[in-house]
């Protein structure tokens, strides 16, 4: 019953979507507001409809209806309730429904805004939102249906079908296979939804960009409207990435946070173009430059969102040949090609009306440095895209599959990241329109001297790796510049208004939230960079097999193996848990419990590290192997991950900064910076 309801609702959603598209087109053609309004109503209907489908799936999951294939594949009797609910996005078809649901939520929300001043965009935004929705809902209805059930035919065969085949009987397995153990983690509640939200919300700026191209209203309106939507999309995507790293660190048992895995890269690529876009739109808002480039960036971001979903959903990553076997792969490919051709075609059509309004006057101006920032982001994108796809291309052309491991990405993208760090420090000091070496130098020299002192201190402190010295120096430079900018702003405000320091700081940041929120984001990025430098350049590890009472030494730490306990749990796991006592410089600092969980239902093991976390470093112990019969030797892997906690702290600061920048308010529209002699003179006096 419920499965039929869920499926029926999805079919109705599809029909409503298609109706909405036609109504919108018809309204445009007949110039009829009533038809466009009808299309808008159709759009508004999609969210409640898909909500019903989602509720149906959740009911099936929670009530253990193992006759439904999806429920059988992703849940089992022993799984806790929260995991049964989150299993909605634990498998292919469920996550496609979830994707569609979030997309409907966002497109519905955007149609609820006031359209007084940009009504011409409305029909097109509806059409683009609905076309995307039609694509995903039809994938669910026609290819990856989460409601299909197991049937036994009279001949004894077993089939999977939505509707009852003739004379077939329902098969009702007593238990399911259960979710992949890697996904049985509290992170499952929040990480995938954040990532998906980030993905779907980039549809909004894309829809407006295309609407702008079609209607020919190629001024900054589409950027103004979508600025906050883009920031929200970016916030969710960033949150998804940070949470994913933390989850990997806690669960995957490799002592790391990022492995340049294709699935990670799939989420990282739209983030790269999205970040470039966030910077580049500022150039258009302030100076009226690079309109075409902004459109290209948002088209690229949307395409990478679809491409990322394609990569992770089509099975193409395990082998090129899985692409041809899965029905979903070719459909994604066709849709991707369709959107790219149409949107790039529109861009070419409007090419001449997207000419820059202003001109660039100096290579050290803010806009020029932002352009360099975009170049570096595109460089990192090229490395990531090519590295992710090369194994597929190699398999296609030579039949030989190759592996592209982290070393390739680190070596190729590392210098580009360093360049971005440098620009992150310098660009906020340069002025829109015009900067010279003199003006920039005047603003830069104090933080520069401070950071050089840090560099000397690090050298004296014994750091000799030039790569690490350079990276840490860059971090120090950006931190000093950002703090210096804050101090300068607060002092200027105090001088003018006589406010006390905290009030001045609060007012400064709240009046200029976009700018100072941006600085907080930059601080967050630097702190994250510190964590990354720590683990990438200073991580140490050792592995050894020791008997009870034995110990392993790693730097200043000594870990002693006390005992190993083997036991079963109520939720269907067999746990092997070691007790390790840790001492630092000979002083005991506590016990750690690395363990290996074996899940009976799915037959898969999970390695959970024992971690001692401080701001200085993490001691991270993995239980690698043991001899069950003799219990004489247990193998442990011990890592020391310096500074890694700053990665998570930086993540928090980063999110905080994005919230500060994106929080809704009635901020005045940004004004163009016109470059006149007087402006420059006054800005130089300020600096």
């Amino acid at each position: 019953m419920i499965e039929n309801l869920g499926f029926g609702v999805l079919v109705i959603t599809l029909i409503v979507c298609i109706y909405g598209i036609f109504a919108s087109f018809y309204g445009l053609r007949k110039n009829s507001l009533a038809w466009v309004e009808s299309a808008r109503k159709a759009m508004l209907l999609t969210f409640p409809l898909i909500t019903l489908a989602v509720i149906s799936i959740v009911i099936l999951l929670v009530s253990g209806r193992y006759d439904v294939q999806y429920v059988y594949n992703v849940t089992s009797n022993t799984m806790p309730l929260y995991l049964k609910i989150t299993a909605l996005w634990g498998g292919q078809s469920g996550s496609l429904v979830f994707w569609s649901w979030l997309l409907a939520a966002f497109t519905t929300a955007v149609t609820l805004r006031k359209w007084n001043r940009d009504r011409e965009f409305l029909p097109w935004v509806i059409i683009i939102g609905l076309v995307t929705l039609v694509f995903f809902v039809s994938l669910v209805v026609f290819v990856e249906n989460p409601f299909v059930r197991f049937w036994q035919t009279p001949t004894g065969g077993r089939v999977v079908s939505m509707f009852q085949p003739v004379e077939a009987l329902l098969i009702n397995p007593p238990d399911g296979r259960g979710l992949n153990p890697l996904l049985r983690h509290p992170g499952m509640i929040i990480h995938p939804p954040m990532l998906y939200l980030g993905f779907v919300s980039f549809v909004i700026p894309f829809a407006f960009a295309i609407a702008a191209l079609i209607t020919g209203r190629t001024d900054d309106r589409w950027i103004r409207v979508t600025r906050r939507w883009t920031l929200v999309a970016w916030l969710f995507l960033s949150l998804g990435l940070v949470l994913g790293s933390r989850w990997a660190y806690d669960v995957l048992g490799w002592g790391g946070y990022w492995a340049w895995d294709p699935v990670e890269n799939a989420a990282f690529m739209p983030w790269l173009t999205g970040t470039a876009f966030l910077h580049s739109v500022m150039i258009q808002e302030k100076r009226g430059l690079f309109k075409r480039w902004n459109i290209i960036l948002i088209i690229l971001t949307y395409s990478l969102v679809i491409y990322g979903t394609f990569l992770t959903r089509s099975g193409v990553l395990s082998s090129v040949h899985a692409f041809a076997q899965s029905a979903i792969g070719p459909l994604f490919f066709i849709y991707l090609t369709f959107t790219m051709v149409v949107s790039l075609g529109l861009l070419l059509y409007r090419w001449s009306s997207l000419r820059s309004e202003g001109t660039m006057h100096s290579v050290l101006s803010r806009e020029a440095l932002f352009l360099l920032n975009n170049l570096l982001f595109m460089g990192i994108l090229a490395v990531t895209f090519w590295g992710t796809n090369f194994p597929l291309i190699s398999e296609l052309f030579t039949g030989q599959k190759v592996t592209v491991g982290p070393a390739f990405y680190n070596r190729s993208a590392g210098p580009l990241f360093a360049g971005l760090l440098f620009l992150m420090g310098v660009a906020p000091l340069s002025a829109w329109g015009h900067s010279t070496v003199k003006t920039l130098g005047k603003a830069l020299w104090k933080p520069l001297v401070g950071s050089l002192l840090v560099l000397v201190a690090m050298y004296v402190g014994g750091i000799r790796q030039w790569g690490a010295l350079l990276a840490l120096w860059l971090c120090a430079l950006v931190i000093f510049i950002t703090l210096y900018e804050y101090i300068r702003g607060v002092l200027a405000r105090q001088r003018r208004s006589g406010e006390i320091l905290p009030v001045a700081l609060w007012n400064l940041a709240s009046r200029n939230r976009r700018r100072y929120g941006g600085y907080i984001i930059h601080l967050g990025v630097v702190l994250m960079a510190l964590g990354i430098i720590g683990i990438e350049m200073f991580q140490t590890e050792t592995q050894a097999t020791i008997p009870p009472g034995g110990s392993i030494q790693l730097g200043q730490y000594e870990v002693s193996f006390t005992r190993l306990d083997l036991f079963d749990t109520d939720d269907g796991r067999n746990v092997a848990r070691a007790t390790m006592s840790v001492s630092q410089n000979g002083r005991p600092v506590g016990d750690l419990f690395p363990r290996r969980d074996f899940y009976y239902d799915s037959g898969q093991p999970m390695t959970i590290p024992g971690v001692r976390s401080t701001l200085e470093d993490d001691l991270y112990i993995l239980l690698v192997d043991w001899e069950p019969i003799t219990s004489t030797g247990v193998t442990f892997k011990v890592y020391r991950n310096p500074l890694i906690n700053w990665l998570w702290i930086g993540g928090f600061v980063f999110i905080l900064g994005t919230l500060v920048a994106a929080w809704p308010d009635k901020d005045p529209e940004p004004t163009r910076v016109s470059v006149s002699r007087r402006n420059i003179a006054s800005r130089q006096a300020d600096g």
Binding site: G358, A382, L416, V675
Partner: protein, 205 residues
């Protein structure tokens, strides 16, 4: 290729068989027990013995030495740079499966036999293909992965430079560096007009 790999492996084995025992023998003489006449003589004998051992070890190829069982760390150092064909994207030093444990045991054995890193990797490549390496070997089609990103980046850099140059050139009425950043008067006027219009538009809202 196959022939060369096997030849190299057997050469190393032979090398070990010839030189190995020569090194291990002096170590069995237990210098401390034999040096009864006096502490100093014992020390001298010990130093000479150990010294000659080290020297001998240096003169002969290090791979020829009969080594103790390689430690887990030595194995992992190499396993970190390899991937088994089944466990996608999990480096060999991390992979918990039985098959990967066997690979690590094989690496341990090969290190013990005195094979160099490159030889061990080559052994696995010959058996399972290039995909066992963490990076595609630099040859043939694989060169593309190393060449394309820099080419793309340089292309991008050229475009950026061009954009900057043409934009600076396009400023009408400029003939010297001083005026270079000054927009023409009509642009200032237009910008102001536009701002004014926008402000009105915003106020309408």
């Amino acid at each position: 290729m196959m022939g060369k790999g096997c030849w190299m492996s057997s050469f190393r084995l032979m090398d070990k068989a010839v030189k190995g025992p020569m090194i291990s023998e002096p170590g069995n003489e237990r210098p401390f027990q034999r040096a009864a006449p006096g502490k100093l003589t014992a020390m001298v004998a010990w130093v000479v013995m150990v010294g000659s051992l080290i020297l001998f070890g240096l003169v002969t190829s290090p791979v020829a030495a009969q080594r103790p069982t390689p430690s887990d760390d030595e194995v992992n150092r190499l396993a970190k740079e390899m991937y088994c064909p089944v466990c996608e994207n999990v480096p060999l030093d991390m992979c918990p499966t039985q098959a990967c444990a066997q690979w690590r045991a094989l690496i341990r054995q090969k290190i013990g036999e005195g094979l160099s890193d490159a030889e061990i990797k080559e052994y696995f490549v010959l058996q399972y293909g290039d995909r066992v390496l963490s990076e595609p070997p630099r040859r043939g089609f694989n060169w593309l992965i190393y060449i394309l990103p820099p080419v793309f980046f340089i292309g991008g850099a050229v475009i950026v430079l061009n954009v900057m140059r043409t934009m600076r050139k396009n400023v009408p009425g400029t003939d010297g560096p001083e005026k270079d950043f000054l927009p023409p008067p009509d642009e200032v006027y237009l910008t102001r007009l536009e701002e004014e219009l926008k402000r009105r538009q915003e106020n309408d809202y």
